[in-house]
Structures are given as C-alpha cells and as structure tokens.
Symmetry: C2
C-alpha cells in the first residue's frame, strides 16, 4: 500500500462523471499523470505513453490534456521558452521557481505574497481571476 494512496485522484471516475469515454489512450495518459510528480510537457507525456502503447498519438495527448484542463483536473503552465508543462491540480495553490540552467521546477507558496497581490488588485479596482508568479533563478554558488 502506497504511503500517499489516499491522495491519488481518481481521474477515471471524474471522466465518467463528465460523460467522456474511458479509452485505452486516456487510461495510459492518466496513469502517467498520476505516477509523476514533476511538470512534464506534452512531448514527455507522449514519449512515456508511447513506451506503453506505441500507437498513441501526440494529438491524443494534447486533446486529453485539454480535456483534463477544462475539467480542472490539471494545470497548464506556460513557463519561459518552449512547450507548456502540466501538473496535477489536486494539491494546494503554489507558484514556481525555475532553475534556468537545468529546467528544474521548484514549488513554493507565500501567503503574504498572495495577500499583497489581492490588496494591489483591490486598490486598482480589480478582482484577480488568476495569477502567475514565476521566479527564474540559478543555484547560489558557495563562496
């Protein structure tokens, strides 16, 4: 039994509820998503899926990601540079620090920053619908 078993989201159930069919490609993609904890892009998901079933197409990966995104099951991030990256949407809100040398993504959260963002928007007469806070940095070198 997995340590975090109770946290595993049941995408299949969610999909059924949304009235879409549980196909073989979708099953494979969903499993990849639940089994990964990083922020893969469509091509990475495609390659991992191909390893399981080589008939799965990149189009289907993109279509499935869009579907899951619209269902709110995953988040899509457009970090700097190339492709969009995805992650499961079940956890709490967080922002990202991207290592510009390695591409590694580190998650963080600051209640204080979130509050300040709200204050700023309010002062400007706006309600925040969503936001994007990304720090691009480099590992500090020991001096």
């Amino acid at each position: 039994m997995n340590q975090h078993a109770s946290h595993k989201p049941d995408y299949e159930k969610e999909l059924r509820r949304a009235g879409v069919r549980i196909t073989r490609p979708r099953k494979v993609i969903l499993r990849i998503l639940t089994e990964t904890d990083d922020h893969p892009d469509a091509m990475e998901i495609f390659q991992r899926a191909s390893a399981v079933d080589s008939s799965i197409s990149l189009s289907t990966v993109y279509r499935t990601m869009k579907l899951l995104e619209e269902m709110g099951a995953i988040h899509r991030h457009a970090f700097e540079g190339g492709r969009a990256r995805f992650e499961q949407a079940d956890g709490d809100h967080h922002d990202h620090l991207i290592d510009i040398d390695t591409g590694d993504v580190i998650e963080f959260h600051s209640n204080r920053i979130e509050e300040l963002q709200e204050e700023i928007a309010r002062a400007l007469g706006y309600d925040i619908v969503h936001h994007r806070l990304e720090l691009y940095g480099r590992k500090r070198r020991r001096t």
Copy 2:
C-alpha cells in the same frame, strides 16, 4: 518643449553606439516606441509603422524588436494568449495586471513582494535572475 523631454531615451544614439545602422525602417519603429506608452505587440507596431512607410515589413519589426531587446532598450512580455508585447525599458521595474476582458495592461510595483521573492529564492538556495508576476483580473463590479 515637451513636459517629459528629459526622459525621452535617445535610441538612435544607443544604436549608433552598438554599431548598427540607422535605417529608415528603424527610425520609424523607434519613433513609434518612444511615442507610445502602452504595451503594443509586433503586429500593432507593424501597422503603426506601415501608416508612416508602407514598405516596412513585419520581419523588420521583429528584427528591430529583437535588436532593441538584446541592447536592453526594451522589454518583451509573453502575457497569456497571443503575441508578445513590448515596452520601453527605461522606467523602473514593475509588474503587470492584465484586464482579461479588454486586454488592458496596468502597471504596479510592490517593494514588499519583491523582497519576499528574494527571501523565498534565498531560502531555496537560489539567486533570482528575473521573475514574472502577472495578475489577470476583471474590473470589480459596483454592488
């Protein structure tokens, strides 16, 4: 004499110093940039430039923007959705609130947020090279 004459950046001088030629297309594009205070995209700049000299091409707009960006004279922002948007780099650092209904861009700055970002990065063992803070919101409706 313009109220803000002293703040107008002399791009032509900067370009000369960078060893590039002051061509007619570049002159037109530079004037458009200095005369605008919003965040136009390449197509908007192209259209404004076309009105002055219909022979200017979109390629040249893109090439000029890249040149200015590399010189540090302008900033390029990849807000959500379509095209990249540009702005003069002379002012102080600020972040952006984007009106998701109109596309309007409102600038703001929070020293407190900037400090907190630094603290977070430091705690994670990183130095921030640059960051991106964008609030996407909607005008608050009077109740």
